[in-house]
């Protein structure tokens, strides 16, 4: 049942009861919804609630439904939610190939081949044994994207993923990320400060305040 990601009256409050942020939306497969608003408004906190790592100093009510499954109460690793951050956060102690392969399901038998093919797809063929610290910013962003996709998520969350890239790279990365999401039919929820991100995404924009 691929009907996308739905936030039903999702409301996040501080532990003492003060409300922080509330949102209600439906993200269809292949669609990008942008969350915009000033810093501190709770945009990233919404993403934390969806990934399942909300800090115990917050409580949340409402429901998060992904392709018909409620995610509330589910352990983070059972949610099948992929996330990209602005710092691409490649695991520094692993090779590029180990990074990309981290999310491959355990029973995968042709691990090496899958990783090699994924790297070739983003123009990094032969990079499997490289130290991630030797990659350029754009290369890191692509590796982080591929690492997420290989884990076969059912939705994609973006936490200002383009803000650390320079203007030209930013445009190319947006195109790559959005085209991959559309191709895989993933619903995408993007937190951003940048109106140009939302314009490029082309989907609905939710302004939080």
């Amino acid at each position: 049942m691929a009907d996308g990601l739905e936030l039903r009256d999702l409301a996040i409050a501080h532990r003492d009861g003060r409300p922080l942020v509330a949102v209600s939306t439906q993200v269809k497969p292949g669609q990008v919804v942008s969350l915009m608003g000033p810093s501190g408004v709770g945009k990233s906190t919404i993403l934390a609630a969806i990934t399942g790592v909300l800090s115990p100093s917050f409580t949340c009510t409402g429901d998060i439904v992904l392709n018909g499954r409620s995610l509330m109460g589910l352990a983070p690793q059972k949610r099948r939610v992929g996330i990209l951050f602005q710092d691409h956060l490649l695991f520094p102690h692993m090779s590029v190939g180990q990074n990309v392969g981290f999310g491959l399901p355990r029973r995968t038998t042709d691990r090496k081949a899958r990783v090699a093919a994924a790297l070739a797809e983003i123009g990094l063929a032969g990079f499997a044994d490289r130290d991630p610290a030797t990659l350029s910013g754009g290369q890191r962003a692509r590796v982080a994207l591929m690492r997420m996709l290989l884990a076969e998520p059912e939705t994609m969350l973006l936490d200002e993923p383009f803000s650390r890239l320079d203007a030209e790279l930013r445009e190319r990365m947006r195109e790559l990320v959005f085209s991959r999401a559309t191709a895989a039919g993933l619903p995408v929820l993007m937190v951003t400060h940048d109106q140009a991100d939302a314009d490029a995404a082309g989907g609905p924009v939710i302004a939080l305040s």
């Binding site: 589910l74 996330i83 102690h93």
Partner: protein, 574 residues
């Protein structure tokens, strides 16, 4: 559905047991030890068996002629050395932070932290003894001495060399604790405001930074004060011997073949505990007085920007330099003595060098080194499991250790060892449990764990948990995130914490001596046993082995990540 996603984070698992286990490991031996001290002090647990309420142990203790002097020495050396070390540390940080001089001092003092107390004390004794380097370098041209003067410099009755030794050894500790606390309190902004308003560096720092820093430095200072008042390892070497400080007196009674002396020893241990508690109370009053003085100073608005500022800065850097010289000079002096052949007074260097002392003592020292390091590695590894378990449990609970937890952690450091270890020994002897290695191992773990927690908590908590989010989003369980991401990424601080723990274990004297009933030899017990004999060449060999044993784990902690991560630049510089 309220809060459902929160409970997902806080699943019940084995980790929540570890904090309770750690508290038991820390408090169990302390509680047992205090019990074993309390009972004999009032007539219980008599050597021949049986107990009856009695104040006889206290009367026996009071009849000791040196008691009053021992009490006075404990209070005087403890308070003065702690105050001087704190003053040197604060003036150095206040006057020099951010300068090249400060970075040089920091680099010089940090490795001194891991020099065991016994080695530092013996080193200072080498320097200032009548035939030590200080008199050699000034004789005869300045002093006119053609032979070592007949002066009691080391172990002087006033305890001044003891005060100097304690101060030199505790200053690096306080400095490192300050450096760990400072990044959390926006020193740059505070100082910018103060100096822009025309305040001198030191005055401005004392009024704007110190109040915030002191709150974090309080427990380490109490630990230093308690140690300075009640230690035996430095006092045995540098303290007066007739009459000795109270702690040494207790140790003499405890190790006397006459078992009847255990009872007055227990009473004196309680007295020592009372003294430390009283001194900490007195110090607290001093803090309140200083705070009131600070408020008065703020209201007068005096800027303290002239000569006073410069003088404070000079005092700070002088105290710190003297401390570094005392310990480094001592180590070098031990090195020279261990290779010295003939060395006549007042020549500055031996007339010949040789390997005779190493031939004579090297093999035994190597053997004891292996025992010492093995014990240290075992204690540090067990403590590491406890510390990592506590930190991971607090991460999963989403709540940091509270004030009470911090206090429990500091208890083994603040409570004088001499107040509860004798009790532990009495208890172990009475129950016949003092067999084998485990009492020593357990008592080492009690003192190793707090330091390792302090060393590892910062890096562990500072780890970017977005890595955990990414890992979990890709299907890794909480345990998977811990083993595959967090621990490997924290390898360097984990190895450093292990090195800290091993250095602490290597330097332990009383726990080794008392918990093993004197049957286990480590480098520290051997070096201190030699200290009264005065064979400088032998002491040189043993104390060098002791310092090297404390430094080796640090060297490994520096080298191993370079090997493991030689192809991972992000792990070495980031």
């Amino acid at each position: 559905m309220t809060g459902a996603s929160v409970t997902a984070l806080r699943t019940k698992d084995g980790w929540s047991v570890v904090p309770a286990l750690t508290i038991a490991v820390l408090l169990g031996p302390i509680a047992a030890g205090l019990m074993g001290t309390l009972l004999p002090a009032f007539g219980g647990l008599r050597p021949g068996g049986g107990s009856a309420w009695s104040l006889e142990p206290w009367r026996q203790m009071a009849a000791e002629p040196g008691l009053g002097q021992g009490v006075w020495l404990s209070v005087k050396t403890g308070l003065l050395s702690t105050f001087a070390a704190l003053l040197g540390c604060l003036l150095l940080v206040a006057g020099w932070q951010g300068t090249r001089v400060f970075r040089a001092m920091e680099r010089m003092l940090s490795p001194l932290l891991s020099v065991p107390h016994a080695a530092a004390a013996l080193g200072l004794a080498f320097l200032i003894a009548p035939s030590g380097w200080v008199t050699r370098l000034t004789s005869p041209w300045l002093t006119g001495w053609e032979r070592p003067p007949d002066l009691l410099i080391v172990q002087d009755p006033g305890g001044w060399s003891l005060i100097a030794g304690l101060m030199a050894k505790e200053l690096p500790f306080l400095l490192l604790m300050s450096l760990a606390a400072l990044p959390q309190i926006n020193v740059g902004e505070r100082m910018l405001v103060a100096t822009a308003l025309g305040y001198g560096t030191v005055r401005g720092w004392m009024l704007t930074v110190l109040p915030a820093l002191y709150a974090q430095l309080r427990l380490p200072i109490y630990a230093v004060l308690a140690y300075a008042m009640s230690n035996v390892d430095v006092a045995l070497v540098l303290g007066p011997s007739t009459p000795p400080p109270l702690s040494v007196l207790i140790l003499r009674w405890m190790t006397d073949p006459d078992l009847a002396l255990r009872a007055p020893a227990a009473a004196a241990a309680l007295l020592q505990l009372g003294l430390v508690v009283g001194a900490i109370g007195l110090w607290r009053l001093g803090e309140l007085g200083a705070a009131r003085m600070g408020r008065v100073m703020i209201e007068t608005g005096a800027r303290g920007a002239g000569w006073l500022d410069n003088m404070c800065r000079m005092v700070g850097v002088s105290i710190a330099t003297l401390a570094a010289l005392a310990i480094f000079g001592g180590l070098i002096s031990q090195l020279v003595w261990s290779f010295a052949g003939r060395w006549r007074f007042p020549e500055a260097l031996p007339s010949s060098f040789g390997l005779r002392s190493w031939d004579r003592h090297g093999e035994a020292a190597l053997e004891v080194s292996l025992t010492t390091l093995g014990l240290a590695a075992l204690a540090a590894c067990i403590a590491l499991l406890l510390v990592l378990g506590c930190l991971e449990a607090e991460h999963r609970r989403g709540r940091n250790l509270g004030r009470l937890g911090l206090l429990i952690l500091y208890l083994p450091l603040i409570l004088p060892q001499i107040a509860f270890l004798p009790g532990l020994q009495i208890l172990l002897l009475q129950t016949g449990a003092a067999r084998g290695l485990w009492p020593v191992l357990l008592s080492h773990i009690v003192f190793v764990t707090p330091y390792m927690f302090l060393a590892l908590a910062g890096p562990f908590r500072a780890w970017d948990t977005r890595y955990a989010t990414i890992g979990a989003a890709m299907g890794a369980s909480a345990d998977g995130v811990l083993w595959r991401l967090r621990l490997p990424m924290l390898l360097t601080p984990i190895l450093t914490a292990l090195a800290v723990g091993m250095a602490v274990s290597v330097g332990q004297y009383l726990p080794t001596l008392l918990a093993s009933g004197g049957r286990l030899s480590t480098l520290t017990t051997e070096a201190l046993a030699l200290s009264s004999g005065g064979d400088r060449r032998a002491i040189g060999v043993w104390t060098l082995a002791l310092t090297v044993a404390a430094w080796l784990p640090f060297a490994a902690a520096l080298l191993l990540p370079q090997l493991v991560f030689r192809n991972r630049a992000g792990m070495l510089n980031g």
